[in-house]
Subunit: 329 residues, 2 copies
């Protein structure tokens, strides 16, 4: 099975890690997906795994010449949809960085192209597969908090110095779709509810010379069954903090409250007094799960529907923040 890498601007390492222990995969080609992308790190990572990919300047030529089974797409975020459509049109499975599109028009086009294709598509919601989120999700699905009523998700990142393409909405897409998409995915994945409305705010103030990049954002979601969810998103984590990110999720239900914080899982419910730290299940790899579906050995935890739906919610949240109004679904 041949894999090609398009771009180097996102989480291509998910695929590298998944490929590491799979002898039936060859990394056949690499190419930038956006003008100016430096592919040297991807090349080195492939070589370090014992592969010798062909290097192209143009992903279109690569797709034609290499004829990969799978494309790993992680170029500038504003170009994901265009590249993914090309890939799907050639019948190639698309493992795409999120958000899979950064405009409503491209999202609709992409969905249409996907519906005409037999290939699989999944967005890189890799955080689902971490030990802590997978453990938390299984606890919630087993009924540990009862019926979900209220959820609070947090994404907090260090800003550092971001590449130039982060500074423009057209190439970056916005902080809610980029950073916030994970938070939105958790709200959806944990609750299984439908989004009914969003009100969001974002601000590029104090972004230390990062152009249009929003440094702070807040989202308020109303989901079906009067379930509410907040998403707090920022690049304000100081560089002195012990980790790059501070991902959190709190799920409050009729039987208890579960929290993910500091890569750990805590539960209070009606079974045992006090706060319990839940032992973690093993971490999984998203690309291995993606391969499972490509090989028709099972379903990937992230469906194309999930990938599109969460992207739509992200774009509606961004629209709400831009237009300072409630967006109804």
């Amino acid at each position: 099975m041949k894999v090609a890498f398009i771009g180097s601007s996102g989480h291509y390492n998910y695929a590298m890690e998944g490929i590491r222990e799979d002898r039936n995969i060859s990394i056949a080609g690499i190419a930038p997906g956006s003008e100016g992308e430096d592919m040297s790190a991807v090349y080195r990572a492939a070589c370090a795994l014992g592969h010798a990919p062909r290097v192209f300047d143009d992903y279109m030529s690569m797709l034609d010449e290499v004829e990969p089974d799978i494309a790993v797409i992680n170029c500038f975020f504003g170009h994901h949809a265009k590249v993914a459509m090309q890939v799907l049109k050639q019948g190639i499975h698309a493992f795409v960085e999120k958000p899979v599109a950064t405009t409503f028009e491209e999202l609709e086009e992409l969905k249409e192209v996907y519906s005409q294709s037999k290939a699989h598509l999944a967005a890189m919601f890799g955080i689902r597969y971490t030990a802590h989120f997978m453990t938390a999700w299984k606890m919630v699905k087993s009924g540990a908090v009862g019926q979900i009523r209220l959820m609070n998700a947090q994404k907090s990142y260090k800003l550092g110095r971001r590449s130039e393409f982060f500074k423009s909405r057209s190439t970056y897409g916005g902080t809610i779709p980029w950073v916030g998409s994970h938070a939105i995915d958790w709200l959806y994945w944990f609750s299984g509810e439908k989004f009914e409305s969003v009100f969001a705010s974002h601000s590029a103030r104090c972004n230390r010379d990062h152009g249009e990049l929003e440094v702070s954002a807040l989202c308020h979601f109303v989901l079906s069954n009067q379930v509410f969810g907040s998403g707090s998103i920022d690049y304000l984590r100081p560089k002195e903090a012990p980790s790059h990110d501070d991902d959190r999720l709190r799920i409050a239900g009729t039987r208890g409250i579960l929290e993910v914080r500091g890569s750990k899982v805590y539960l209070i419910n009606d079974e045992i007094d006090g706060i319990r730290e839940i032992p973690l299940l093993p971490e999984q790899n998203i690309f291995v799960d993606f391969l499972k579906q490509v090989r028709e050995q099972g379903k990937c935890l992230i469906s194309a529907h999930d990938s599109f739906y969460v992207t739509e919610v992200c774009l509606k949240a961004r629209q709400s923040a831009d237009e300072k109004r409630i967006i109804w679904f």
Copy 2:
């Protein structure tokens, strides 16, 4: 100095604790503020401090006969404003449970009566005086997080079995004004920003036979200078949890992030690597601070303006949740 207690449905203990070590105060009278309030616990608390208050059925008669300097008002929440207006009209200082009013009309009337009076009024935002919140506030005011950009406040309570008056909006006022008022007060007190808009949601589902009482609520505030604040409010804390409440506040700014959680204060900023737990300042008492202003020895940390303003924000948040629309200030 004579103090009278009206009602027993809120935090009258703030006043009892403040009076405990003050030999110049006498608890002169107690009376219910709402029909059916049982005053026996207030009576016992007063006696335990060595006072022998006269007991009245009717607070109007008490005010006339006892002529107190200060009234501690904590009846059914829907009656705070009416009682406070009567108290102020008689030139008596009003230490009032929050929210100080549960309708816009009563809030406006109360403000008008206050402006005609020389008496002081403060709402019982007693959480400001806890060791952890006072420490956190002083850290933030000293510049520990730089310029505030994003705030997340949480109030989570055990529901238990609430008194009958909690089950009706007219006597209870709603969960956003009752439980949420603290969270809203923190956002205001820490940031010093003005509220520009609110979008909120609340739900009475799964309230275990508590009538109209909302068990979950979420508020999204836009404040001046593009500062955003969330308020997550619930009665979903399981009875097995180690404390009644789970108050939290996270303040993210340009220099760092401060958190109040589990009655502790944590700070990450650009001064020291890693997360620091901040040593706590001593707890203070809100009623002692209130007395300071009554005695013209200084300003109470909670002004009448603060009390009215936070109440207005609560009522606008409740309106937003009721009407499912953004309320602009």
